[in-house]
């Protein structure tokens, strides 16, 4: 058969090593416990096998000491597992602040990936070696799941919200990209490749091919076309709030709540503006649900992000942890 018999998956990201370490710990503990149980079962079954039909077993009721032992020891072992896996999970949940951002839209049955520089790919993702890469993902229809086994990362891609995933490739090569959440007829065909390239090669790749303009530039154009600029004046004196320096900041809402203006907030405020109304403004903005597609929403968000100062980085969707990052470069478009 062409495939041979692989027994262990390739490791091509920092996370792969960390996941495998935990895996081997779990495997070791499991082997120890299962061997102990299997050996005892076989040994007892043989040693104490019935020799006469009416032979009975020894009258043993139990032992509080033993019960305590096999409650406490597994409890300690499982709490170690919990602590270890939880810290790993939290690192998976929180992308490093300066990660290169790529946008992903899943739809039945393909992956559309967009680089901030404007390069767009379908079922292929090119990334540079040794960089933190953060994917911001959404779906146009049902739930999908972005899974790269060689990176040991996986996150569901949902309609109606953004989820994120990050990885740091450590080895050049081509790796499987799978949709792991069943999404309909051609679920098994919703696969692709992630290509990890030397940074120099990646620059060449990025420069090659037609680039119609960066994501933020497309967003800026859309911002005019949809007449958003009529109300969202940069002075803050329009009918809508100013969007300058909005991304990553805390926004006070009607009713006194505050929210962090992250990707999910921006998305919701474009598609369903009445869900959260900024204090001091009325519910005047029209609903854009159905008027803009997911890629256009991503373009608009990229534009709004480009208006924010570089140090503002919002917390992850779901975990409103704010992190500071050193001053990086920013692209202003106006």
């Amino acid at each position: 058969m062409p495939g041979g018999l692989p027994l262990f998956p390739e490791r091509a990201s920092t996370m792969a090593y960390r996941v495998d370490e935990l895996f081997f710990f779990l495997l070791g503990v499991s082997l120890l416990i299962s061997l102990l149980v299997f050996v005892l079962i076989v040994a007892f079954s043989v040693k104490y096998r019935r020799r006469a039909p009416n032979e009975i077993g020894a009258p043993i009721e139990g032992s509080i000491k033993l019960e305590t032992f096999w409650i406490v020891v597994p409890l300690i072992l499982t709490m170690v597992m919990f602590g270890w896996s939880a810290s790993l999970y939290m690192s998976m949940q929180n992308p490093p602040p300066q990660a290169m951002e790529i946008f992903v839209v899943g739809k039945q049955w393909m992956w559309k990936l967009q680089h901030p520089e404007g390069q767009m790919e379908i079922n292929e993702l090119h990334v540079p070696l040794e960089r933190d890469i953060k994917l911001t993902m959404t779906s146009e229809d049902v739930i999908h799941d972005f899974f790269v086994p060689a990176f040991r990362v996986k996150t569901d891609v949902l309609p109606g919200r953004y989820t994120t995933l990050w990885f740091h490739p450590t080895k050049t090569g081509r790796y499987h990209l799978f949709c792991a959440q069943y999404c309909g007829t051609n679920h098994a065909a919703m696969v692709g490749w992630v290509t990890v390239m030397e940074p120099a090669e990646f620059e060449v790749w990025l420069a090659g091919g037609p680039i119609p303009g960066s994501l933020a530039e497309a967003g800026a154009k859309l911002f005019q076309q949809l007449a958003c600029n009529n109300c969202h004046l940069s002075s803050g004196k329009g009918r809508g709030p100013s969007l300058v320096a909005l991304y990553g900041s805390k926004v006070r809402l009607v009713g006194g709540q505050t929210v962090v203006a992250d990707d999910n907030y921006l998305r919701e405020s474009i598609l369903d503006p009445r869900a959260k109304i900024v204090a001091g403004y009325g519910p005047d903005m029209p609903v854009f649900q159905g008027l803009v597609n997911e890629e256009q929403v991503l373009q608009l968000i990229a534009y709004i992000k480009s208006l924010a100062p570089p140090q503002a980085v919002p917390g992850q969707p779901g975990a409103a942890a704010e992190t500071k990052r050193p001053a990086g470069q920013t692209r202003r478009l106006q």
Partner: protein
């Protein structure tokens, strides 16, 4: 076995010969007959689900999936899951063995509500017929998990009919659980205190609690999916203002405890097998009993471990992870106590014991791989891969089905009054164990390599392991068909079993086999602890007949 007393006939009046004719079965309120009605229904469902499994495995022989189209494949794994889970695994032990044995083990004449018991069988079949109708008119392709918004908007298959079938069958489950709880509370024989109950009863009590409390939630959830699908109410679909994660929370609130509905009764069976065939009291009776309830209670609070990568809050994920680890502790208690029971026992290797020991082995592997899945950072990699598929098959097939078959073999002499060919039965138990491991162990490796579940076609490097798995499945199929054949054969030709062929301590063995219509001629009075072989000198094999070894049946009852 040439000299075995097969010529004997069963002359005493029992639940099988007390009346004849189709009507006497379809209108019976005897819990033992209802158990057999269920046995027929769920066996049909099992083989239907098995046919789907065979087609799935055959399709996966080649990376391109040449046997069936992607559309058909999706329907196959969906219907395999729906039929096996809702129409075989969940009802299996409770409705067949539980129905037959709960009243007998507590010294009662029947369940608390005999007519309700019969009604559950009709409700179950009505649900099964709806689902069968969905299958023959084109099938359903959402996966047994019915994730929204795929199920509520995008799928073009018979989602609503299938949901209606499951919804209806759920009532059968709720009412059965209710009946067991009422029976165990109110109908125990004089002297049969809670801590003199066999663990089989404790397991069924815990299971019934889950059935009564959990099933309504899945019923409501599936009804909401149907409402969204038919009337476009925005509940789960974000395009209509709904939340797809809400569905997952509601669905797993039932469907995780449902795993314990499947495995708790199997644990109960295993406890009976281990004690009877080690002829020894259960080590740590109170701990095992409490573990059943512990699993049932904590099992309700762990559903979010199905959603680590689904987009729920990471802090919620942590709570679910810690609780998932806590639920592993009572499972461990059970395994260690079973093992300790064997120590200084008088261990027989009769067929039911092989199933019992097989259950422990496979359950240990299923349980320990559950620790990988409860580990959040680990689960991210193996979630929705074949690792999960292997894990839950070790629990649900390796565990629940081994327990079910072990129980069927153990109580078959009581149910049918006859023994089956022991050597053949042991052989088929071993075939089943080997076939099972060959089918599902390679799937752990496939999963860690990253092969996603529910894939009609796959990259070529996964082929060798898939071929191994399919080869195992064909051995496994033999292990399922053989018992079916010799058990049917034994109903007519098997040697007469006698009331207590093993012999065991339970009340169900203190009455003829098959039992009389009202179970006991005299209500038993219990003055002993369960599995107390040392103080039950009355329980002896009759004079040994060499050809039958320890399986010597009594000459006549």
């Amino acid at each position: 076995m040439s000299t075995s007393p097969t010529a004997h006939t069963l002359r005493h009046e029992n639940y099988l010969n007390v009346s004849y004719g189709v009507k006497s079965w379809l209108l019976t309120t005897d819990h033992k007959r209802i158990a057999l009605l269920y046995l027929v229904s769920i066996t049909l469902c099992f083989f239907l689900g098995g046919v789907f499994a065979v087609l799935i495995r055959l399709n996966l022989l080649t990376p391109q999936g040449n046997l069936v189209s992607a559309e058909t494949y999706n329907k196959l794994f969906t219907m395999h899951g729906v039929v096996m889970i809702f129409f075989f695994l969940i009802p299996s032990i409770p409705t067949v063995l539980g129905n037959f044995l709960v009243p007998m083990m507590i010294g009662a004449r029947d369940l608390a509500f005999p007519r309700l018991n019969l009604a559950t069988w009709y409700i179950f079949n009505l649900g099964a017929l709806f689902t069968l109708y969905a299958i023959v008119t084109g099938g359903v392709d959402t996966g047994w998990t019915f994730y929204t918004p795929y199920s509520s908007l995008y799928s073009n298959t018979h989602v609503v009919t299938t949901i209606v079938g499951i919804f209806i069958a759920g009532f059968s489950s709720i009412l059965t659980g209710l009946n067991f709880i009422a029976t165990i509370h109110t109908m125990r024989a004089p002297g049969l205190t809670w801590f003199r109950l066999p663990l089989f009863i404790w397991a069924h009590y815990a299971t019934s609690l889950i059935m009564v409390l959990g099933t309504p939630v899945v019923a409501i959830t599936l009804a909401l999916v149907a409402l969204e699908r038919v009337f476009h109410l925005g509940i789960f679909n974000p395009a209509l203002g709904g939340d797809p994660l809400l569905f997952q929370h509601l669905f797993w609130f039932y469907s995780h405890p449902a795993v314990y509905i499947m495995v708790l009764p199997a644990m109960g069976v295993t406890t009976e097998l281990i004690t009877t065939f080690a002829r020894k009291k259960l080590f740590g009776y109170h701990f095992v009993a409490a573990a059943s309830l512990g699993i049932a209670v904590i099992g309700f609070l762990v559903w979010g471990h199905h959603m680590y990568v689904a987009g729920q809050s990471p802090y919620a994920a942590m709570i679910f992870s810690i609780l998932s680890y806590l639920v592993a502790i009572p499972s461990g208690i059970k395994v260690f106590n079973w093992t300790a029971t064997l120590y200084k026992g008088s261990v027989s290797w009769a067929t039911p014991m092989l199933y019992g020991l097989g259950f422990i082995g496979l359950f240990v592997m299923g349980g320990l791989t559950g620790l990988f899945l409860a580990a959040m950072g680990m689960d991210v990699h193996v979630h929705d891969t074949y690792f999960v598929v292997a894990h839950f098959h070790y629990i649900m097939v390796g565990g629940a089905v081994m327990g079910y078959l072990g129980g069927i073999h153990y109580w078959w002499p009581k149910i049918s009054g006859r023994l089956y060919p022991e050597a053949l039965a042991r052989f088929s138990a071993i075939v089943l164990f080997v076939g099972f491991n060959l089918t599902f162990f390679p799937q752990f490796i496939l999963g860690y390599l990253g092969m996603p579940r529910r894939y009609h076609a796959y990259p070529p490097e996964f082929q060798v392991l898939n071929v191994l798995s399919t080869a195992g499945a064909s051995i496994l199929a033999v292990g399922y068909v053989l018992p079916m054949c010799y058990l049917v054969w034994s109903m007519r030709y098997g040697p007469i079993a006698g009331p207590n062929p093993w012999p065991a301590t339970g009340l169900e063995w203190q009455t003829p086999s098959p039992p009389p219509p009202h179970n006991f001629d005299v209500t038993p009075v219990v003055s002993w602890e369960p599995y107390d072989f040392a103080n039950r000198p009355d329980l002896k094999y009759p004079a040994p007949v060499p050809e039958l070894g320890h399986l010597q049946p009594e000459a006549q009852d």
